[in-house]
Amino acid sequence: MIYGLIKKNTYQDSVNLMVLSSKLSESDGINNVSIMMGTPANKEILENTGMYSEEFEEAGANDICIAVDTENKEKVEEVREKLDESIKNLSSKSKDSKLEKSKTLDGALTSLPDANLALISIPGEYVYEEADRLLDKGINTFIFSDNVSIEDEKKLKEKAHKKDLLVMGPDCGTGIISNIPLAFANIIPEGNIGIVGASGTGIQEVTSIIGRNGGGITHAIGLGGRDLSSDIGAISALDALEMLDKDKDTDVLVFISKPPAEKVKNKVIDKFKKLNKKVVAIFLGERPKEDEEKIKYAWTLEEAAYKALILSKRQKDYSSNLSDIKDKLDKIKENSSQRKVLGLFGGGTLAGEAAMLLKEHFNVDAKSKEEGYMLKYEDNKIIDLGDDKYTQGRPHPMIDPSTRKKAIKELKDNDDVAIVLFDDVLGYGSNEDMASALAPEIKEVIEYKKSNNKDIVFIASICGTEDDIQSYSEQVEKLKEAGVLVLDTNAEAVYTSISSLNYLNSNIEIKENNDEKKTILNSDLKVINMGLESFAETIKKHGGQVVQYEWSPRAGGDKKMQGLLDKLNSL
């Protein structure tokens, strides 16, 4: 029996209605439902399909005609209710999938044109071909997949080595590049320890201990279990060590592996000796050798982590800060009497810290007897201008810049001081603009030195935040403008002064940052994830750029077609 209903003046797109018709036709007790706008053509279709009801006579083009074929009249009302409900819910539910996806490498590269790493977790038999063409495109590979032959591994690693690229794996479980976790990895704070390891959980354990104990890492480079075999000969290990050695954020290296073939092990240890940075090495299961100057050996993973932690705190390398003041230092170097540090501090504790670090450097323990001097050693001076000696009858130097200005001005007649260290303490109560107050005198001294074919270095740190009334960044700008090297912390300022002194007193070269080669360690990580989608989500979550390459075997695995494609593409 056909029942007809009209829903007046409710226009719906015909497609929506077709969807509803087929959905409602599936209800129990209903033979068929046909819902259409009441146009003449549609009425004709209703007639032709045997779904016409005389109620439709008066339906116009803006009325919905609902034809219900059922033996149970109550079902008609049910259809009307469901129709009303469905019309209300027509808007599509948007699914939040923001991960970019592509089914081709070309497509992935269109989304991420300068991708520099591919994380590969596809079946092993396809890995060689894919990794090979990625290397051809200049992309580093992290191969999570196993079942790649050792011959193929060697070919890939040799190719990567020639192109200054890195192949991590095959069968590489863990990696952290620029604080972005790859495959199985923990979230470890940023720090200055770099890890290279042919042991996935070894890396996880060491990095976790470092992280839990206040340290942090730059990169953790997994190698896969076979890299240190005599077949492969540690190709990736050596390249990874080299890359980390050149990485300016990495100060200490940790090398983790099971005992390799003796020949390979010697190769790796030789490499340690050639590096500029200290290394903690653990060959799991092998009694540690005696420490050497640059290499500390560990017996357990925990021991390796702690040794790295201790070294990392001492070995932070501030010499990279020197590139900005290299010209000044080279000028100062010409004048052999100019080798002293003068600290002009407003903050007493900051002065104390500076004195402490310099004492450590000069290897002196003596407490200065003169008032106001936190350190006075062979004319190197750290002065606390807040000492009573200087503040009688005037405000504290954090408010009143006059004593400091005077001291800076006097440097014109001083030919011993190479480096002037000072602080700028912000906050309520402090001078509203210490940088502007000191700038004229600083500029004057620098100009004066220059006009006499000399130079002088000012190094400062600012204690305060952006929200302070003086605004941290504005103070930085003003001091920089005056010619001051501004560093993040007081300790860094002091360490940089020490590095400067070392430079002035020796023949070491300052490493130029600009000739640093672009590697995966010093570029933003841009990853093509081939395989397990969850890996891509992790990368995305941690701020890495990633595109999911929904890989499947080329030409559906049809070998003949793959051959034809290769032939055609090689023309």
Partner: protein, 418 residues
């Protein structure tokens, strides 16, 4: 090869697609522009085929055409004539034409004349007859034949006179570019383009001197026929792709078509050759009373729109169309276009899709990418009843068989390995 490599050759092909300038010049009886139709000849959709391989809807269309041309009085006479071998069948594609569904075109049917002023070539297509019982879906009753006569006697001449008043013809790319921003993908959905076409043509139709009844009928027909622009888009796409075919090198698909029996493709580097394989059957949404079991196998030249880069390839422009294929909403539509763009060499900047971050439509289907990825063109299509005489029963989507692309790939290797 006169190009450095296949990528360069493909660039030359797609440059022709981008630089195309199709204009609607006229509407004329088919036999005036297609010589072959001056004999007992019918054009059909798809790659070449014989009467005995035609599916019922195409046969139904042939009956209708034979009756319309006065070769037969009824189905029986038409069947006798057509199975006797006296009527020659030629693919539309072989005579610069394309035809929707059955694609059956006879000498006295009016066709759109679209000229690609860049390539200097023309393409033809019959006029859209509306929906329901229509010849292209295999219906051939009196209503169908009468409408064909009205189109020949009233609609065709009216449009001819109207279009000819426009100096240099009607610039179709303008309409296409506008309509794609209004939600058309030009295969399943042409309502915006049809409305824009009507808006542009009506001022001229008013001046062609129609009597009141004819003017009313023509106006009503154009107003009611939401898919009117589809056939214009087919001629448009054919004129563009034939101009691209002049390059004669590379791996770009220049035609996708089906005759209900076989799917056929042409590839830029392989000229006029067809690469065929058995067609699939479209999946979709059916008018009440019909189901998937009633669906005829894939049929029609309309996939020329996908060849150009619209239709299913441009699903993102018309998210509403996703409902035909049981998908729901914009993201699904975008996913389809994103996927299709992976088998193309680029995007056509002339047809920019706002909700695709203004990316252009897909440009140049590369058979190498099709074979490599297993992704085939997404074709939005009407669905005919598998019995003759019933007509359209739904709409949906269909994919070409991969075999066509594999065969063409093999032929290309053979050609270029020499």
């Amino acid at each position: 090869m006169k190009y450095k490599n296949l990528d360069e050759a493909n660039k030359a092909v797609t440059d022709k697609i981008v630089s195309a300038q199709p204009y609607l010049m006229d509407v004329v009886p088919a036999k005036e522009v297609i010589d072959e139709l001056n004999g007992k000849v019918l054009l059909h959709a798809g790659p070449p085929m014989k009467w005995e391989h035609m599916t019922n809807p195409m046969k139904g269309s042939c009956y209708g055409a034979a009756i319309f041309e006065g070769w037969a009085k009824n189905e029986e006479e038409a069947d006798k004539l057509l199975s006797s071998g006296e009527v020659e069948f030629i693919p539309c594609h072989h005579v610069d034409a394309v035809g929707p569904m059955g694609g059956i075109t006879s000498g006295n049917m009016p066709v759109l004349v679209v000229e690609n002023k860049d390539g200097g070539n023309r393409a033809y297509c019959t006029l859209n007859e509306g929906i329901g019982k229509v010849l292209r879906f295999g219906a051939y009753n009196d209503e169908v034949v009468n409408r064909l006569h009205w189109m020949k006697d009233v609609l065709g001449p009216a449009l001819s006179k109207a279009v000819k008043q426009i100096d240099g013809g009607m610039n179709l790319s303008v309409i296409v570019s506008k309509a794609i921003t209004m939600g058309d993908e030009f295969h399943q959905r042409n309502i915006a383009a049809s409305a824009l076409f009507m808006k542009d043509v009506m001022p001229y139709i008013l001046k062609v001197g129609l009597n009141e009844k004819d003017l009313e009928d023509v106006t009503k027909f154009l107003a009611d026929t939401d898919q009117f622009f589809l056939n214009i888009m087919m001629a448009y796409s054919k004129s563009v792709m034939d101009s691209a075919r002049q390059i004669e090198e590379g791996t770009i698909v220049t035609a996708l078509t089906r005759n209900g029996h076989e799917f056929g493709i042409r590839v830029s580097g392989l000229g006029d050759r067809w690469f065929t394989a058995p067609v699939n059957t479209p999946k979709g949404l059916f008018f009440s009373g019909y189901s998937q079991d009633d669906a005829n196998a894939d049929i029609g030249d309309s996939a020329i729109t996908e060849t150009f880069g619209v239709g299913g390839m441009a699903m993102v422009a018309a998210p509403g169309v996703t409902k035909f294929i049981g998908l729901d909403g914009f993201e699904e539509a975008q996913k389809i276009s994103d996927e299709e763009s992976e088998i193309c060499v680029g995007h056509n900047p002339n047809m920019s899709i706002p909700n695709w971050d203004f990316k252009g439509i897909c440009l140049g289907i590369d058979i190498r990418k099709v074979v490599e990825t297993g992704i085939t063109p997404y074709i939005n299509t009407g669905i005919a009843h598998k019995e003759a005489g019933i007509g359209q029963i739904g709409a949906g989507v269909v994919h070409p068989p991969m075999e066509c692309f594999k065969k063409a790939l093999e032929a290309l290797v053979e050609k270029y390995s020499k």
